[in-house]
């Protein structure tokens, strides 16, 4: 219990820190507004050109709320890879490693503290715009199921970005890995276009990779909640978290052996 309390305290400190600059927080969260507006323009024209109200089970209403959830997830991701790679490159990791906590759990608590409030603000601003454009949000069940899947999304994202950050033990520059990871999330996660609109072969590929369970899973649960989908998303998230978590733990252990700290 004491063990958990330590990380809970780290989470709380970061959460409070993120509230210290409300202007910055609001400014950053407003970014979702132009994105939602432009998505509305694109999908309104697309649905109108298709001459139908529903494409592969998605309407303009469900597409817009799906995209609101997808944007909320993406825009709330903290810059963890950059932070860790800078810690590794400038040697400040040495000051974190000798503290009485686990480095990975410290980073997780820290990143969650940043994510939670940012996600709330993004959902608020994005939700207001989408509500104004297409109508009220989905029912409570959608919110509940999406929230359950969000935790898995955040853990998976943590594992991948942490791995990218730790690659600074081996390479000078980690940003390209981050850009490419982000683009895989965009395409194979269904971030800009719901996977339902993809050709079948690409849907099959996307659903066999982790990215779909980070964006598509929670967003689809939000607009079209069903117990079957919830079980599927949570199961696949658990499988990927186990795999990615194991790779992360191993990589961290090996990475630390590369570390040379001179003086201090």
């Amino acid at each position: 219990m004491k063990y958990i309390r330590k990380y809970w305290a780290i989470f709380q400190i970061t959460l409070i820190n993120s509230l210290a600059y409300p202007g910055e927080l609001i400014g950053r969260s407003l970014m979702i507004v132009p994105f939602m507006w432009i998505f509305y323009q694109l999908w309104k024209v697309t649905f109108s050109a298709a001459g139908t109200e529903s494409i592969n089970g998605m309407t303009l209403y469900s597409t817009m709320w799906y995209l609101m959830m997808a944007e909320t997830i993406e825009l709330s991701r903290p810059q963890l890879a950059r932070t860790i790679s800078e810690n590794v490159k400038d040697g400040s990791i040495a000051y974190i490693l000798n503290k009485p906590y686990n480095f990975l759990l410290y980073q997780f608590s820290n990143s969650m503290g940043e994510t939670v409030f940012r996600a709330g603000m993004n959902a608020l601003f994005g939700g207001l715009v989408v509500w104004w454009l297409v109508g009220p949000p989905p029912a409570l069940q959608g919110w509940t199921f999406a929230l359950l899947a969000l935790l898995g999304t955040w853990i998976m994202n943590f594992c991948i970005t942490c791995l990218i950050g730790l690659s600074a033990f081996l390479v000078e520059e980690v940003s390209p890995f981050m850009w490419i990871y982000q683009k895989f999330v965009f395409i194979l996660g269904g971030f800009l276009i719901p996977l339902d609109f993809y050709p079948n072969w690409l849907q099959t590929i996307a659903k066999s990779l982790p990215f779909a369970y980070m964006i598509y899973g929670p967003s689809k649960l939000f607009v079209d909640p069903s117990m079957e989908l919830l079980v599927n998303v949570l199961t696949m998230q658990a499988v990927w978290i186990a795999a990615l978590g194991a790779i992360l733990a191993l990589s961290y252990r090996r990475g630390v052996t590369y570390l040379t700290v001179n003086g201090g």
Binding site: G27, R28, E172, E173, W179, I180, I187, I193, Y198, L202
Partner: protein
């Protein structure tokens, strides 16, 4: 001419500085090109499914994405500090540039090279070559369009960042504006109604960085060229005027330092 020589000297020093870490340089350039390729695949998926958005298809997107990426890359490469000018103003780091007998704005914005910009710049040409609309005279128009779009983008960055003279920290607002400019620039202009188009030609001049240059490349008309030239000239004039007027309010941070 004197300014050009000065700029060339800065760019040479910047290039030597980034080439010091060759692996990092190459990783960033190749990484950015890959990043753009993967990102563009989204549009290919979209147009494969929906074919056409009010007269815009994949071919038009290739050209628009190409000109926007190259213009963005050009500004990143040669005027990298334009992205963070607000932080420079806010942290009192203009002191260094003010203390030297060179144009302050030009010196400040040209003093940093963002390596990944080379990846964007190169990718833009590849995108144009893949568009199916490639012609040799089109390539000349592509180059002219990139230059004018880069002037528009750099001016926009200077304008937005110069707000730091009046309001202090502007990094969130700048990020918001850059994102809006790039997002609106890449989407088909035919999506927007007249009110939205007015915004895209004035407050967020994304049309002058994406749709108008792309239109000029596809079908050269004097009207589109005039539109581009006029837009770039007005924005550049405005950016320089606003920066100079803000500079009068600048308070030194007593932070004269050596910029490496």
């Amino acid at each position: 001419m004197k300014h050009l020589k000065f700029l060339l000297a800065i760019w040479k020093a910047n290039l030597q500085s980034v080439m010091e870490y060759r692996v990092s340089f190459l990783t960033q350039v190749i990484g950015m090109m890959l990043n753009n390729f993967i990102y563009f695949a989204i549009w290919l998926i979209f147009f494969d499914r929906f074919k056409d958005v009010r007269g815009w298809g994949a071919s038009e997107m290739y050209v628009t994405f190409g000109v926007l990426a190259s213009a963005f890359g050009l500004v990143s490469l040669f005027f990298g500090n334009a992205f963070v000018l607000g932080d420079i103003i806010n942290n009192g780091r203009l002191d260094y540039y003010l203390s030297l007998p060179r144009p302050v704005l030009l010196h400040a914005v040209a003093s940093r090279m963002i390596t990944s910009g080379l990846g964007d710049f190169t990718y833009g040409f590849i995108s144009y070559a893949l568009s199916g609309q490639f012609t040799w005279d089109g390539l000349l128009r592509f180059i002219l369009a990139i230059l004018l779009a880069a002037v528009v983008f750099a001016s926009f960055l200077i304008l937005v960042n110069s707000l730091a003279f009046w309001v202090g920290i502007v990094s969130s607002f700048t990020n918001l504006m850059i994102n809006a400019m790039l997002t609106f620039g890449i989407y088909p202009i035919t999506l927007f109604d007249n009110y939205a188009k007015l915004i895209l030609f004035t407050v967020i001049p994304a049309a002058l960085m994406g749709a108008v240059p792309a239109e000029y490349i596809r079908a050269a008309t004097w009207q589109t060229l005039a539109q581009l030239l006029l837009g770039a000239a007005i924005l550049l004039g405005l950016a320089v005027t606003v920066f100079r007027s803000g500079l009068r309010r600048y308070e030194s941070g007593s932070a004269i330092q050596v910029e490496v």
